[in-house]
C-alpha cells in the first residue's frame, strides 16, 4: 500500500507537446534514482561480501567495551566507527551483517508473494465467474484487517524462523500482484491476438506463458520493487517486535529493539541500523515510483 500514490501528475498532460517533453524528462535518469540504484547495488555488494568488509565478528562480545561511543580508537585498541552495543559488539559490523537478513528475507518474500499473487491474479482474470469471485473476496478480506496481527499470530504458532518469516511476509503482499494482474489479464483476454491464438488451438497455458506474462512483465517489475521496500520494512518491524530473526544473528529491526533501553546513554545502537533501514526503504520505494512512471503510468491509480 505504501507509496502507491504518484508524486506528481503533470497538469498539462493533455497537450501533446507538453506530454512529449514530460516523457523526455522522465526518460532522463533523475539523480535521485541514480543514487538509489547505486545505493541498492552497494547494499547488495555489502551483504554478499559482509565477511570481507565487516571490521569485526558481529557476535564477538567484549564486557569491557560495552556501550562504547563511536571512536577510531576504542578501549580494546580497535576502531568502532559506530560504537559498541550493550554486549560490547561492534555496531558497524552488525549493521553490515544485518543487511544480509534484510535483503535475503526481502527478496525471498517478494518472490513468494509475486509467484502466488500473479498466479492468483491471472487465474482470476482468465476464469472469471466463481473462481474470480472467490479470489477477489479473499483479497478483500485480507485487506480488511491489519495483517500484522495475523503475521504475529502465525509466527506465534509456528515459531520464528527464516522460512516462516519469508512465507508470512510473502503472503502479506500477494494482493497487490493479484489485483493488477487480474485487471490486465481481463483486458488482454478480450484482445484479438489472444482470441486468435485460442482459435488456432493454443492452450490456455500457452496463452498465459507466451502472451499474457510477457505483456504484464513491466507491471510485475514495478510492483515487485515497491513490494521489496515493504517486505524489508515488515521484516524489520517483526524483528523489532521479537518475532523475526532471532538473536544473536544481527538484523536491523532487532538491533533497534536492543538499543531501545540504552537510547538515553548510547543512542548509536538504535539509530545506526534504523537510519540505514530508513534510507533503504526510501530509496527502494522511490526507485519503484520512478520505474512505475517510466514503464507503466497506468499503475498510478492503483
Amino acid at each position: 500500500m505504501a507509496s502507491s500514490i504518484p508524486a506528481s501528475v503533470p497538469a498539462e498532460a493533455a497537450r501533446p507537446a507538453a506530454r512529449a517533453k514530460s516523457r523526455a524528462r522522465r526518460r532522463r535518469l533523475p539523480w535521485l534514482v541514480v543514487a538509489g540504484l547505486g545505493f541498492v547495488g552497494l547494499l547488495t555488494v555489502v551483504a554478499l561480501a559482509a565477511p570481507l568488509i565487516a571490521p569485526q565478528d558481529p557476535t564477538r562480545q567484549s564486557l569491557r567495551g560495552r556501550l562504547g561511543a563511536p571512536t577510531v580508537h576504542g578501549t580494546d585498541g580497535r576502531a568502532h566507527l559506530l560504537g559498541t552495543d550493550h554486549l560490547g559488539r561492534d555496531v558497524l559490523s552488525r549493521v553490515i551483517y544485518g543487511s544480509q537478513v534484510s535483503l535475503l528475507v526481502g527478496f525471498a518474500a517478494v518472490v513468494v508473494g509475486g509467484v502466488l499473487g500473479s498466479a492468483a491474479g491471472i487465474l482470476a482474470g482468465f476464469s472469471r465467474g466463481r473462481m474470480d469471485a472467490v479470489i477477489m473476496t479473499l483479497a478483500d478480506a485480507q485487506l480488511a484487517f491489519p495483517f500484522i496481527l495475523l503475521a504475529i499470530g502465525i509466527i506465534a504458532v509456528l515459531g520464528p524462523s527464516f522460512p516462516t518469516l519469508v512465507v508470512v511476509i510473502g503472503l502479506s503482499g500477494w494482493v497487490a500482484y493479484a489485483r493488477i494482474l487480474r485487471a490486465q489479464t481481463l483486458a488482454l483476454r478480450s484482445r484479438e491476438f489472444v482470441e486468435a491464438v485460442h482459435g488456432l488451438g493454443g492452450s490456455t497455458t500457452r496463452i498465459v506463458l507466451r502472451h499474457v506474462l510477457p505483456n504484464v512483465l513491466s507491471s510485475l517489475v514495478v510492483i515487485a520493487t515497491l513490494e521489496l521496500a515493504r517486505a524489508i520494512v515488515l521484516e524489520a518491524t517483526l524483528s523489532f517486535l521479537g518475532l523475526g530473526i532471532q538473536p544473536p544473528t544481527p538484523s536491523w529491526g532487532g538491533m533497534v529493539q536492543e538499543g531501545r533501553e540504552y537510547l538515553d546513554s548510547a543512542w548509536w545502537i538504535s539509530t545506526s541500523p534504523g537510519l540505514v533501514l530508513m534510507a533503504t526503504s526510501i530509496v527502494v520505494s522511490r526507485t519503484g515510483d520512478w520505474l512505475r512512471d517510466l514503464l507503466d503510468p497506468t499503475l498510478r491509480g492503483e
Binding site: S3, F145, P146, I148, L149, I152, L263, S270
Partner: protein
Amino acid sequence: MRGFLPFLGHRLFRAFIALWLVSTVVFVVMRLSGDPVPLLLPPDAPRSEIFRVRAELGLDRPLPVQYGVFLANLARGDFGRSIHFREPAFNVVRDYLAATLELGLTAFVLAALAAVPIGLFSAMRRNTAVDHAAMGLALIGQSAPTFFLGILFILLLSLKADLFPTSGRGDWRHLVLPALTLGAFTMASIARLTRSAVLEVLGADYIRTARAKGVSETWVVAKHTLKNAAIPIVTITGLQFGTLLGGAVVTETVFSWPGIGRLAIQSIYNRDYPVVQCTVFLAALMFIVINFCIDLIYGFLDPRIRSG
C-alpha cells in the same frame, strides 16, 4: 442507470463475507497456536485439574463443534470470556478501545488537518523550494518504518529536548509523539495525493474557463478545485484507516500505550483466544463499515461506479 438497491445488496454481501473470512482465519490460527491451559495453571498442576479447566473452557470438544459454537456466539455478539482476565472478552477490549480511539482519532485528525493544506499549497507553488521540501518530507513520512520513527521522536523530542514524556497515557503531552508517529504515514499519503489531485484539476478545461471569465484565484481554488479534488481524497482517507489500525499495533508497543493493539499482541502471547478474536473482529468490522460507507458516498457522487 442501474438501481441503487442491487448495488447496496452486493456491497453488503461482500462486506459480510469478508467479516466471516476474517473471523474464521483468526479462529483457525489461534486454535493452532497451542493450548492456553498450561499458561493458566501452576506448572505442577495435576492432570485432572488441566482436564477440568480444559472442559470448563470448552477446549475438549472437537474443533468443528468449537467452531460452530464460536460462530453462533459471534452472531449473538458474544465473544466469550477472556482466559487471562477472567471476564467477558468484549468488556476487556472495550476498556482498551478508548485509548486506541483517542490515539487513532488524534493521529487521523492531525494528519488530515495538516496534510490537505500542505498538499494544496504544494500544488499551487509547484516546483518551488517549498514544494520540493514538503514533498521530500512526505516521501520520508511514507517510507520510514513506523517503529523507528517512534524511536527517533523519543530520542530527539523526549530524551534530548525533553518536550514530551517517553511513554504511557496521561494528559495531552503524552499524546503528541504517538499521534505524530501513527499519523506520519497517513499525513504523507494524503498530502501527496492532495497535491496530485489538485494539480490534475488545475489542468482541467473548466478551470481555464473559470479563469478566463475573470474569477478570482481564491474562488477558483475554493469552489472549483477543492470540490473536484475531493473524491480521491475521500477514498484514500478510508483506506488509510486500515493502515492506522495496523500502525497502532506497532505505535502502542513503542510508546507503551494501553490500547487494543498492544492488548492484541499480549493476548497472542498469553494465547487468550477470545480477546484476540474480539480485537481483530472489531478492528475488521470498523474498517469494513467505514469502507462500506465510503463506497456508498462514492456511489452517490459518481453513478458510473455503480454499474462498474
